[in-house]
């Protein structure tokens, strides 16, 4: 049983560019959340998707947007990249009632 899978694992972008990160949830999970983790800090909640709708959003600007597809996979899009967006982006999946599992993350470096 594959766990939460994320792609790409590493990427480098230039300030002002746009990036798309992808996530496939664990089998049987229908809820996907995205977190940003800066070095030396705990993850920060970006948003959660359920039934293809954004169910809850953290304190992130509108440059951060997402999507969930009918197969429950999800994308995180970040526009107008800033140097401060450099971080590990984590996808988490869960079932309606249950524990939350994380993928290995996508390392984004903005130069």
């Amino acid at each position: 049983d594959a766990g939460v899978t994320q792609s790409p694992t590493h990427l480098i972008k230039t300030r002002g560019q746009q990036v798309t990160l992808r996530c496939s949830p664990k089998s049987g999970h229908d809820t996907v959340s995205w977190y940003q983790q800066a070095l030396g800090q705990g993850p920060q909640f970006i948003f959660q998707y359920y039934e293809e709708e954004e169910r809850q959003r953290g304190n992130f600007p509108d440059r951060f947007s997402g999507h969930q597809f009918p197969n429950y996979s999800s994308e995180l899009n970040v526009n107008a990249l800033l140097l401060g967006d450099s971080a590990l982006y984590l996808c988490a999946s869960s079932a309606p009632v249950g524990t939350i599992y994380f993928g290995e993350g996508s390392w984004l470096t903005v130069v």
């Binding site: 994320q6 030396g40 705990g42 909640f45 959660q48 984590l90 524990t99 599992y101 994380f102 993350g105």
Partner: protein, 111 residues
């Protein structure tokens, strides 16, 4: 003041010792408490999941929640060098979807 406080360490102990890791929090509405282990440049791995107060044991790991003191602990018995990692606590309200995280404690087990 952060909602969840966690000593960043590093905490260095000899192999075989009992390790105690702790978090304090300020939000009395938190009901679900988790401990994750994160190896360098990897995604968080769920270790323990506890609802409300009490103790939970799983192998060498024991999680304790004291809601009256707003204090949670993770104990690791017979610690091994492979336990060297960053340990993050996370918690959530019952009606909220986002996890609130501590900054993580870096643990080093010396052979």
């Amino acid at each position: 003041q952060k909602e969840v406080e966690q000593d960043p360490g590093p905490l260095s102990v000899p192999e075989g010792a009992i390790v105690s890791l702790n978090c304090t929090y300020s939000n009395s509405a938190f009901q679900y408490f988790m401990w994750y282990r994160q190896y360098s440049r990897k995604g968080p791995e769920l270790l323990m999941y506890t609802y409300s107060s009490g103790n939970k044991e799983d192998g060498r790991f024991t999680a304790q929640v004291d809601k009256s003191s707003k204090y949670i602990s993770l104990f690791i018995r017979d610690s091994q060098p492979s336990d060297s990692a960053t340990y993050l606590c996370a918690m959530k309200e019952g009606s909220n979807y986002q996890l609130i995280w501590g900054a993580g404690t870096k643990l080093i087990i010396k052979p």
